[in-house]
Symmetry: C2
Subunit: 400 residues, 2 copies
């Protein structure tokens, strides 16, 4: 039986309602109690009781709004409820090829400090990775003693496959070993709850947490970049499957015997659409700097993009072909998930205008129009890496 | 915000708990109140209150158990709670190529009467299909006046794409037109709630409702037969996507330019693995009776299977190849959904032992072992068509 024991449990309802209020304020910013009630669907009495508790705990504060312009309100400023950003802090860590990034986030989920450390990640083993991270945390937090005292959670974002249930890295292109436990050693050492998540899932959460995506309950976020990842939101929550490693869109297949993928298999969508796949293909056709083929730099990808901007027909063709393969993979997604929307993100989205025609052609050639239906595909403008925002949000969600 | 307004609503909790009790009794059969509490996680007081209400409404009844063998219990029979099977009836209708099947189900979800009518479904239009169904219901129910009075719901199972949200058939190989509204015209005429579902989803529900599948919250059921369908259970419930047509596994792709699929596109998994695809391929290699290629009969498929049983190397090779394509599609499912289990059902599962080696080879060639992980693939023995059991369960779920 599909038993949800929560529903008969008033204590659980109280916890859910607290979380609802905290998350609403995190997404929409300060608001009056009456608006908070409207937004959450909670009764005024419940809102008053929970906000009083949270204020007593120091997690919320009252702020004065600017006086409204309307003369009917007699110019009195209204009292708004806001998260007390200094009440709690969380730590975010992002592991990617040759980089560890440390981020300090406040109660609002904003990044207040950040530091990137270059290192040879492929030279690490399971123990030295954990020790490196712990040393890095010590050094990073050294100048944040006040925040350190109020540190109450940690999240680790990983480029690669993650088993979120077991709290381990299953495989990462940044590491030369497999199956690395993360949450247990870190939570033992730091004495705070630790969560681990795939980088694309973090991006999906960061996008989901924006006001304009709050009404969307079923959508997929594809991340284009050094790899091809995906995060799927089902019924408003991140879907991670029974084994905690769902939504590995980049390793669904275009063809049984295609180009080599980073994962070890052939013909995966990633082997056509990731930075390394596009750069590898481009190098056979146009002159480009020599590089680590499996990890072209941002600069190298920008140079390739510049060639497309200048109308180089070979490069344009490469992006169109990559778009077609991506569209073919998206067709499978539509057939299986029937999502409201498919959002394309990650730094690879900077080439969207060169991918777009191929994507549409790929989808239309693969799928009957009844299944394409009203699912829209849209690019998410990539100003900066939002993986950190996502992992901080997941760390906060694990606490409050 | 992911607002679940239900959680603050005691009325909704009461409705959920009623449903929980009814469904538990439907799945597990009669049980003592104390067991019902343990099974549902509801308190004894809640179980007593709800079962009293349901008995007053006539939906439940008390039955005496056989006296237990243990002498400690002094041989007294215990009082068990059971569904009153005669309290309500539901109607199930299954539309497939050239057949309409009518089923009468009781409160327990058991089929109490059944009738199949052959007709030329491709000659129907939207109006004549509805009229045919309504006339068929009249005729079928003619000898069931008592049940007709207690008829309180109807479910329609469709071979093809269904938009469950809109209550319409989007496309069916059994029909020559598209977009046929179903739930509205039938509920208007019958004055009871009507639901519509894809046939593979019905099979997934029928399997899910068996006691041994109750603890499984995330799994996929693939249906092999005249087409290749799928039903996905996520968090214990059927997943139908935002557009109500998810899990169209048969129309995910094996290759961009493969054999013709019934849907109009090329290279879909169905175009390799369905009855018609296997029969079409077999006819190029072995002598088989002429048939309607798009719809080989059960008898014709049995004859083909007999050739495999007798060791015909051409037929064995065809099944192995079909298995490989199926395995390749399953690899995509594992990468995207990471389910606990993938169950293979439908009448095509009778050939499972000839497909199995190909399936495993296909999965292993397509997907890194970390993503195959512990997902198991298992055949579901196909004694008889369980689509009817599934559509009756969905019809009952829409009422209670």
């Amino acid at each position: 039986m599909n038993i949800d024991r929560k529903k008969t449990d008033t204590e659980q309802i109280r916890i859910d309602n607290r979380r609802e209020i905290i998350e609403t304020l995190r997404v929409y910013g300060p608001m009056a109690r009456v608006m908070l009630g409207r937004q959450t669907g909670l009764s005024p009495a419940t809102v008053t009781a929970i906000t009083s508790d949270l204020m007593a705990e120091g997690l919320l504060k009252e702020v004065k709004s600017e006086p409204p312009a309307s003369p009917a309100s007699r110019g009195r400023p209204r009292v708004l409820i806001d998260l007390n950003e200094e009440s709690s802090f969380v730590l975010g860590i992002k592991l990617s090829m040759n980089e560890l990034r440390y981020m300090l986030g406040d109660m609002k989920g904003q990044i207040v400090a950040e530091k990137a450390v270059e290192l040879d990640t492929l030279a690490l083993n399971s123990d030295s990775l954990m020790q490196t991270i712990l040393d890095g945390i010590d050094e990073f937090m050294d100048s944040y003693t006040r925040e350190k005292e109020r540190l109450c959670g940690c999240g680790v974002a990983i480029q690669g496959f993650v088993n979120a249930n077991e709290g381990e890295i299953v495989w990462s292109p940044a590491l030369s070993f497999r199956h690395c436990p993360v949450t247990l050693p870190l939570s033992d050492a730091l004495d705070i709850p630790v969560v681990v998540a795939n980088d694309a899932n973090c991006i999906a959460i960061a996008i989901r947490n924006q006001p304009e995506y709050q009404s969307m309950e079923n959508f997929a976020v594809i991340m284009l970049g050094y790899g091809v990842g995906m995060g799927v939101i089902i019924d408003g929550a991140l879907y991670s499957g029974f084994h905690g490693a769902a939504a590995e869109f980049g390793h669904t297949k275009y063809t049984a015997d295609g180009p080599q993928c980073n994962c070890g298999k052939k013909g995966c969508i990633e082997a056509y659409v990731s930075d390394y796949a596009i750069y590898r293909k481009a190098k056979t056709l146009v002159e480009l700097p020599e590089t680590n083929e499996l990890h072209p730099s941002d600069l190298e990808m920008s140079q390739l993009l510049a060639k497309a901007e200048s109308g180089d027909p070979n490069v344009l063709e490469i992006y169109k072909e990559a778009g077609e393969v991506l569209g073919y993979g998206i067709a499978n997604l539509m057939a299986l998930f029937s999502p409201e929307k498919i959002v394309i993100s990650g730094q690879g989205v900077r080439a969207y205008k060169f991918l777009e025609a191929g994507i549409n052609a790929g989808v239309e050639s693969a799928l009957v129009k009844e299944l394409i239906s009203e699912t829209t595909i849209e690019p998410y403008s990539w100003q900066k890496d939002i993986t950190g925002i996502g992992i901080l949000a997941l760390a906060l969600k694990a606490i409050y």
